[in-house]
Symmetry: C2
Subunit: 355 residues, 2 copies
């Protein structure tokens, strides 16, 4: 019997199918304002307060490689990627449920390190670990974390609120996590080669990774931008739309434009790429801009604000204005350093089922 | 380097370690009234309303075998086991987050069946699918579901509220899910034998499973007892303690007694075991009482009520009074049909890491 395998429809095709099947379930719960389709689901707790919730599932050999990822960092990252989704709603994270399926042969010490990383990250974000589940796994390690947050209705930022003329902003620098991943993969390759040739793996023979510390850190230990959410609150900024950059700037900008029914024009020379990322790209003969646009896992925030907020966003040293929202018929473009306009919709983001 | 592997400390040892690491995170969120340790976490939304939340992770070859489990049933069960935890708090389920890590080679049709099963179960419980996550998996299928529910503070049932003299009650019949699992394992063995001998697997040669329909159904398609929660509300019954029976009557009763600092005495001849379950036990030369006490996966409710509620609980045809809560020094015992008292604390429940 012929059948379709998932790579043919891809991750977004699968999500679309789920969303369609989930639709009839929404009727029973009118308090659920937003279901599948934004960074978080949105549930009305009262007239004054919304609850947002999100979940991420991380699988060994898909999202992480235990050869290059310390267990504690992995635990921390599992929390941060969820808190990042909460931040993308302009909300404050509150509680986490943490589940783990782990091969019975794993050392307890490693699982404790994993939990320790989760607990430490939660402490930093002010999140309580409220519960979870543990199970053995006949195959690899799988982590599943769900986080809830809260935000008043007049502060929430959805993907769909952008309008032509508004400024497009990003936090931090982009492409660093992709650079870090490629460095780690290179080191892993060298290590495995040593093992295959039965040579001892001498730490002194390793490349000195100290100078690439930041890039490796953004890959292994990303930090959700809760500081930016707090800045928005204190500076009186309300993003008209927001998303976190988990799959690269280009697909995330397209999500905002599709949800808001707008176009966008961003400028290559405004995209914040760290000098270290450029250095690594040169060394690996790769392209730092491509990493920033489609590399993913930076967990920075991409958001839009009215032009009137320019002064407030510019006052923050870690926010860059990279372009402007345009009418939908103008499409979604990047103007490169030579003045050429390139259509971003032809660039693909990361698909877990196709990589 | 010597290290501990998980089976040495077991599932509960692992949960205890997590609970300890999670403890310092609780301080940041005073609204969290109960963290790890009950069927659900409990979060105060307002003076009038509590939110309860739970999560379960199901792994292929640990919790289910795709050779004997239709994908749609699996999806439904993933929802029901979570809703059962919500019911155990005497709460009404509201929203679900559903995550799935699936091998890229899986047919899309199968994943759709899985989602269809989840959506159908949600419709039956009045639960909205609010969001989720999808990922590929390099190993088996892993499902992770989180469900939230709501309950007024004066109705919530924790594990810790039982007092000596109160009645111990269970819903439905016990041991059926364990009986169904053993039948399915037997049929799978026969099927694999046919395959090994390269014989065609003729459906007509299969045992007629129709007469075992109920037992197989309770294994593959358990139903959370939301009907009982509704009955409690309408009949004005407030259980003083409650838990759902996922690991067998014996360990669940011990959870209630440990949390409430009480003993218990139950009577073998009061434990509801269906005639079909006894028949299957005879056929497989196994023991139906052992299945009821330690078999697990029945997803019925175990609860306590004051003696004054005897009339109301007895009025429901699907509730059985099976014993009485005793002082802690009396221990936790079952009186068998010969009048012998057997110490339940010497019986082990199911441990995912030791099976």
């Amino acid at each position: 019997m012929p059948y379709n395998v998932i790579p043919e429809i891809g991750e977004f095709g699968l999500i679309a199918k789920l969303a369609k099947l989930a639709e009839p379930t929404l009727e029973a719960v009118p308090e659920l304002i937003e279901g599948i389709g934004d960074d978080c689901a949105v549930y009305r707790l009262s007239q004054e307060l919304l609850q947002v919730s999100t979940t991420d599932i991380l699988a060994e050999q898909v999202h992480f490689d235990l050869l290059t990822t310390p267990a504690k960092h992995l635990g921390s990252k599992a929390i941060s990627v969820n808190v990042s989704d909460i931040c993308a709603m302009n909300a404050t994270p509150r509680c986490a449920l943490v589940s783990i399926a782990v091969p019975a042969s794993f050392p307890v010490e490693m699982i404790e390190e994993l939990y320790r990383g989760m607990a430490q990250a939660c402490m930093e974000y002010g999140v309580a670990i409220a519960g979870g589940d543990t199970s053995s796994s006949r195959s690899g390690l799988v982590l599943s974390v769900a986080v809830t947050g809260e935000v008043p209705p007049d502060r929430i930022a959805l993907r769909k609120g952008a309008s032509p003329g508004e400024l497009i902003c990003v936090t931090g620098t982009l492409g660093g996590a992709a650079a870090g991943l490629r460095l780690l993969m290179r080191e892993k390759g060298i290590m495995l080669e040593h093992l295959e040739n039965r040579e001892s793996y001498d730490r002194n023979l390793m490349a000195d990774l100290e100078e690439y510390r930041n890039a490796i850190r953004s890959q292994l230990l990303p930090v959700a931008r809760l500081d930016i959410v707090k800045y928005f609150h204190s500076a009186g900024i309300r993003p008209t739309s927001m998303i976190d950059i988990s799959d690269g700037l280009s697909p995330e900008l397209q999500h905002i434009c599709r949800s808001s029914a707008t176009g966008a024009l961003i400028y290559e020379n405004s995209i914040p790429i760290g000098p270290q990322t450029r250095l690594i790209a040169d060394e690996l003969q790769d392209d730092a801009l491509t990493w920033a646009l489609t590399g993913g896992e930076d967990y920075e925030l991409l958001f839009t604000v009215p032009k009137e907020s320019w002064k407030e966003v510019s006052a923050h040293s870690d926010i860059s204005v990279i372009g402007e929202i345009t009418p939908p018929e103008d499409g979604i473009f990047i103007r490169d350093i030579y003045g050429m306009k390139i259509d971003l919709s032809t660039m693909k983001g990361f698909d877990h089922f196709r990589s």
